[in-house]
Symmetry: C2
Subunit: 98 residues, 2 copies
């Protein structure tokens, strides 16, 4: 969703973008990506329309809906809280053993 927030983009390009940003550290499998996009569309967090892509072929471009934007913000905060807490546990909260 964060990638889609940068502007309308189709699924295949999302995967490339993530791989590129993460310098190949993260790759989203197509078998995960497309169902996920369908779920987000079904929940009306994303909206899709068919348009010719850069290569001239038709592709399904996704955009954030208003709900999607709100959802992304709150979930980003949740993600930060969650990883902060996990970080606390992994660091051992100053009791540094290991």
């Amino acid at each position: 969703m964060r990638v889609v927030a940068l502007g309308p983009i189709h699924g295949y390009a999302i995967a490339q973008r993530i791989q590129q940003i993460s310098r190949d550290a993260l790759q989203v499998q197509q078998g995960s990506l497309y169902p996920a996009l369908h779920r987000l569309e079904y929940k009306r967090l994303l909206a899709a329309k068919w348009q010719p892509s850069e290569t001239g072929r038709d592709a399904k471009f996704y955009e954030l809906t208003a709900r999607g934007r709100a959802y992304l913000i709150t979930e980003t905060e949740n993600w930060k809280r969650f990883t902060d807490v996990v970080g606390l546990i992994l660091k051992g909260t100053a009791e540094g053993v290991l």
Copy 2:
């Protein structure tokens, strides 16, 4: 596993510890915790023995094995790499939109 790394501890106490460290932000359900401990024990990442707990009752105390210690270290690094990359994407890699 990181909590177990602090010293032998039984399942119930692990849940309390995590909840305490996270100031109630994270609570591990018993239905997730016990099967997870069983899986880790099966994979020989944890070892268990029955001992009387602080309250006098018998409880199953878990400890990291050598494999568990190694596993924890590499997985902690993986976790850091993963969350760093997700952080990059969520921040938009300096293209700051949203």
